[in-house]
């Protein structure tokens, strides 16, 4: 990375670094200013407040007392299994859906990158699941999984794939979890696809030309050019999607709300249940914040796996 190049009596690299820092810091911070202002008021304050809530016994409308890690202890020691179930479910939900979204998104991006008629409309059409307001799409899926009027079951039964009345999507634990994952993958794949597509656009065409001239097969080009150059995009997309899915609330809340008997309970819903209907916002905040260290672990793993092969 060549920048300042003058050497001096003091070690060159040090001189260089000082120069860089001196030179670029003011500009750096200046460019950050709008972001810091907006986030400071509307995010930092609520965030710190959330942390404070989690270490108090606050109830809605009542400022609580400091109780240290009491809330956390309560949840971790709770033997009714709901909390730990929620942790496992959250990991399972995030893990499985991410794997599918990633692979399907890559496939979709590769397809969308081709030339074919009506490409523009196809691209827009494949984006639809991501565009439709979350709440409404989950209502639509609820209608499709409807215990009485499921069109999915109608199709499955009438094509003789299953017996009447078909799987009970939302009433059996395993099915309910599957239903949640299906809808999440359906909704989230376009996000991956369009990011990869944009990422592929930034790859210089000449690289492929050169490789082709050198006799590389398509597969080799994909593995040696496309994938590595998609790495920055992949990293960002993966991290953001993982975080969003971990904290996913709207969809599961509308579709199952933890039913049947807490088998689809997720940390986000469990935290909400304690905090809002239950009124114990200190505890709710604590459960929400448990996501933090968990997510940090996941993020670290992802970063490690996608580290630049130096």
């Amino acid at each position: 990375m060549g920048t300042a190049t003058r050497a001096d009596a003091v070690p060159a690299w040090h001189q260089r670094r000082v120069r860089i820092y001196d030179r670029e810091a003011p500009l750096g911070y200046f460019l950050l200013l709008p972001t810091l202002v907006v986030l400071g008021i509307f995010l930092l304050y609520p965030f710190l407040f959330g942390i404070w809530l989690s270490i108090t016994d606050s109830e809605l409308g009542n400022v609580g007392k400091f109780i240290g890690l009491g809330n956390y202890r309560f949840e971790f020691r709770n033997t009714d299994g709901v909390f730990y179930g929620a942790v496992i479910n959250t990991f399972l939900y995030t893990g499985v859906t991410t794997v599918f979204k990633l692979s399907l998104g890559l496939v979709m991006a590769l397809l969308l990158n081709q030339i074919f008629p009506f490409r523009r409309f196809v691209r827009a059409a494949l984006l639809l699941p991501y565009i439709i307001p979350t709440v409404l799409s989950y209502e639509a899926w609820r209608w499709m999984f409807d215990p009485t009027f499921s069109v999915i079951n109608w199709l499955l039964v009438n094509t003789h794939l299953v017996h009447y009345p078909g799987p009970n999507w939302l009433g059996v634990p395993a099915n309910a979890m599957a239903a949640l994952m299906i809808v999440n993958v359906w909704r989230g794949t376009p996000f991956y696809a369009i990011s990869f597509l944009a990422g592929m656009q930034v790859i210089p065409v000449d690289l492929y030309e050169a490789a082709r001239v050198d006799g590389a097969s398509r597969r080799q080009q994909f593995i040696n050019i496309t994938l590595p150059l998609l790495r920055p995009v992949l990293l960002v997309v993966l991290l953001l999607s993982t975080i969003l899915t971990f904290a996913d609330f709207q969809g599961p809340f509308v579709l199952t709300n933890g039913a049947p008997y807490n088998s689809t309970q997720l940390l986000s819903i469990w935290a909400y249940q304690w905090g809002i209907p239950g009124g114990a916002i200190g505890l709710g905040a604590a459960i929400s914040l448990v996501l933090f260290p968990l997510l940090t672990i996941v993020v670290a793993v992802v970063l490690f796996m996608l580290r630049r092969p130096e």
Partner: protein, 451 residues
Amino acid sequence: MPRAKKRAKSGWSRRKFLQTAGVAVATMAFPEILISCGPQSNSTPTATIPKPRKGASIRLLQWTSFVKPADAEFKRQAAEWGDANGVTVAIETVTGDQLQPKTAAAVEASSGPDIIQMQYGWPQLYTDSCLDVSNEVNILIGKLGKPDPVNEAFCKVNGTWRAIPYTVVPNAWTYRTDYFQQAGVSSFPTTWDELTAAAAKLKTTSKPISQTDGHAYGDSLTMWNPVLWGFGGKEVNADGKTVAINSKETRDAIKWAQGAVQAGFVVHPEWLDPDNNQAYHANRISGTLNGASIYIREKIEFHKYTDVTNNAPMPSGPKGTFAMNLIFNHAVMKWSPDAETAKAMLLALMEKDQYQKWTMIAAGYNAGPFESLHNDPVFASDPKLKAFQDVVAPGKWPGWPAMPSKKTAQAQTQYIVADMFAKALANGGTGDIEAAISAAETSLKAIFERP
């Protein structure tokens, strides 16, 4: 250090519990006395009548009624009063799931609507944010008679009225007389055991009696709590502290449920509140427990099964007849700049003739929470609605026999009772009873023994 603090804190709260328990025991043992003590102890000769302020602006937040015209009537009455008194009134109706976070946000921010509709035990959750309305309630008691014990249990926190009783939504059984006849059941069962027999017979028509055992906001509670109580079971003792779910009575209740399911009563863990309505209108089931909305919609909108639909009150168990209805009350919030105006409006809307105009349009979906509102002409207008009138008296609240509190509210929102039944009723009614009770007990203990 934290432990010492905790001990100190629980010492304080133990005292508080005894206080509350004392009140609870007194209320349980001598309800008449306590209620009649009300107006007497407020022995100031003239209760102050709140006066509306001209130019004030009042916002009211409540649940969307399941009967659309009822909301329209309510808004009309409020607007009419507002015009007559120079007050701007805005009424916002949202779904139950949305009412909760909105109320929570208002309470946290200490700002928002002037009047919020309190569902179930919300006055216990938000006590400090709700103004003392004892004055207004006493005025209403003077005009309308005694309030229903369930509304009172929810509205009165530590002896102070924090909300004005508003309405009861009775839940009764709606069933298809034609399928019942076909199956050889002459009338709706009057005991739980009879229900098992009836369910078995109706199985032959392939239109079973069905109910939710999932996380339905209303229907899960109105079904499984009365079953539990009917056999003598309970979540906590009357002291509101000791978890009592692990008992022979609870086992009896679950065993009955398993028997019923094995005989032909169908339970659906995936059903939410609209689903039994939907199934009924789609001719898939022969009976279910619900508010009057199923019958009303048939009568007013669909006209398909009106003649073959009838309603019946709750069956009894060995320990009595119990019901659970939806209870709504109005609280005036402490941050309201026009609290007196808000109170005045609520009093005006509770005037007998106004109120009964509204219940008439609600076509039997709502009942009044005061004694003189009991014989509402709307119930006389259609004999099939009688069942909904009958279920008001045996109604109790989630957590009974303990008084409503933050903890009973938490137990309720976590669907502990419904989940217990759901687990035991899985796999065609052959779930593990002990595991189900044990899980419920652990969850309840976590809630009730939390400092």
